[in-house]
Symmetry: C2
Subunit: 434 residues, 2 copies
Amino acid sequence: MDIRESAALAKHASRAMATLASRTKDGALEAVASALVAAGASVFAANGEDLLGAGTLSAPSLKRLSYGEAKLGESTAMIDALVRLPDPSGAILSETELDSGLVLRKTACPIGVIGMVFESRPDALVQMAALCLKSGNAVILKGGSEALRTNRALAGIISTASVAAGCPKGWIALAETREDVGAMLALDDRIDLLVPRGSNSFVRHVMDNTRIPVLGHADGIVHAYVDASADPGMAVRIVLDSKTQYPAACNALETLLVHESLAAVFLPLAKAAFDAAGTELRGCERTRAIIDCVPATDDDWDTEYLDLILSVRVVRDMDEAMAHIREHGSGHTETIVADDPVAAERFLSEVDSADVFWNASTRFADGYRFGLGAELGISTSRIHARGPVGLEGLMTYKWKLYGSGQVVSDYAEGRSRFTHRDMRNASAPRRNSP
Amino acid sequence: MDIRESAALAKHASRAMATLASRTKDGALEAVASALVAAGASVFAANGEDLLGAGTLSAPSLKRLSYGEAKLGESTAMIDALVRLPDPSGAILSETELDSGLVLRKTACPIGVIGMVFESRPDALVQMAALCLKSGNAVILKGGSEALRTNRALAGIISTASVAAGCPKGWIALAETREDVGAMLALDDRIDLLVPRGSNSFVRHVMDNTRIPVLGHADGIVHAYVDASADPGMAVRIVLDSKTQYPAACNALETLLVHESLAAVFLPLAKAAFDAAGTELRGCERTRAIIDCVPATDDDWDTEYLDLILSVRVVRDMDEAMAHIREHGSGHTETIVADDPVAAERFLSEVDSADVFWNASTRFADGYRFGLGAELGISTSRIHARGPVGLEGLMTYKWKLYGSGQVVSDYAEGRSRFTHRDMRNASAPRRNSP
């Protein structure tokens, strides 16, 4: 089917999706999980063909493209966890009595049609489809062409099982060609939000070529600043974990900034730990005056290595560290290691990133670790959703006003008066002030 | 100064704005109000020159362009009201214990640099500058060229008074030329959010020519559906108020949809009321079989009159009414008049608009009436903010994690476990389900 037609059907289906009962959606998720298990062999067979067709692959590419028993188990476990989460749709976000018999409810509802564009990784298809089903959104999925057979098998199973369980036809659609991606980016009247997943350049390409809002992140150039007041042992533990616990993640550390007064003590300890972890250090001149390492070039400060490489710079003070982060950071995640709470609060307040941490590893920047339940992705946008994003990233809201015949002229002409009473939290102020 | 340079300065100033103490911001607002009063004569003189320069103006245009004692009084009253509102920046939106000694706070913070582009109306400049100051954002303002002298006077007074009271230089900048607008729309690395105000075509132009997120609305094609179960007297009161209480507003009624079974009773009552209010009715054939009125053309269903004109259509049932709204609505505000709660709840749930009302006038769709305090505008976007938007439309959030040396490897390898305890509302569920 033409992608424009699929998108029109998805838009139509999104209306029925938005009003499905929670039990229908959860029942459909359970039916999808059962169907995936039942039809596992056909998915594995399709995936085998994709793997054969892909030719010689590097180990990481092979791992991303393959979808076998283990990935299927992860998919069904993810679906089970989603079923147990509360339905985000219909949640009442605020409730205000405007006047007697006139009640305003800000109510969460799905965004509509989500466009997901991802590279290889067929398991991402299952995850995204399940998140959209749970939240009541329709979805158009475009995966990597090298995984086309696997994606077709998975999307077919999900569609058939969920529609049999009460979802509207066309709520999930698969886009298949490169031309479809270009068409999707232009369908701003039918697709309400794009969620791209893949390499930085891929996400950047999506962001640069659409007027549809994009939820995601391109670069993750993550910094740690070790303050003069830091405990050197804690600092070593935190930066080592931030860099090496999973170097390919977007929240892994790329640049270490060290206060000059602690550098002579801290850097030799850090070097010993990173040497033991097989991590290459690339240092500024002041760093190399203290420890032996590769000289850092200007490019190093702007590079997301996603590998066991770390750039290191000695700074005069926290201001120089924050200026470095402003110039080279990507607004993703930064951490300060410090004993001084004044320094730490200043860093958390002034550093303009989605995640700002004190005495904790940057690797905590993750939806699961944040306790968000399901994770949609990490956003470096300042609008709609920022940092790790759970199901709420797929939600918007509408204002429902329940009246009993009220008209505005009565208020404009003084016959009636607004009460504006918060009905959910009558004793507490609407907002907290610092 | 070149607009790109002003925007770079504003970006720089936005960092200091974001960390100003609440009392500094409120003190600066008070200083601005005092300075406006003290320098009123110079503003009125500048406005007089603008009015002279504008030549012959229609009464509404004259009213929009003029800035005299009354408008100054409204400006200072608005600033006083803002001072009394709590500071939206720094509000803790959620607080979760991830583990003992590891606390995550989702904290509200300003978006950064707001670009405001508006037509004539110098009072909008004062309002927007004050909203940005209160919320800790920097702002670049571009007003209509016919109001340039007034805008210069106002921006100068606001800048001088607020900087003297502790705001960073350059937090407020005025763009002056048509070329500046084009440049602003392209400055997506320096401007974080655009708030356009003016005619539909003007807002549409901004939305169509920028990659910066836009908060606003173009059309407001607002519908009322009078259900078979409606009380005819209540229905007349509500649709009359929706249309005539202030016809030039975006939340004023443009199309009336009437269930066929109530049409013969309701339409003659409605006609009498609208005749008395000097409102022209344009009806479909079925409407004209019941009451005498102008025949509606296809264009009428897609027209925002902003005037005492109303299109009227008799529908077979609520499904036909909702289909009409889907096809012709702009996602702004719709109301149903009905006694039947099942019909009403279905309408509120299925109609995909920012504001959906039951037995209430569409004119309630307004930030002040909703109790939001200050109103930034009304958004028909589905992302970030929807419907009437208060100060929270100028806010984003960051995730602050307060640790005591925690690393992720301890959790990955089972030595530590997450507690994920909601610290703000321990006894209540995170979300309400319907």
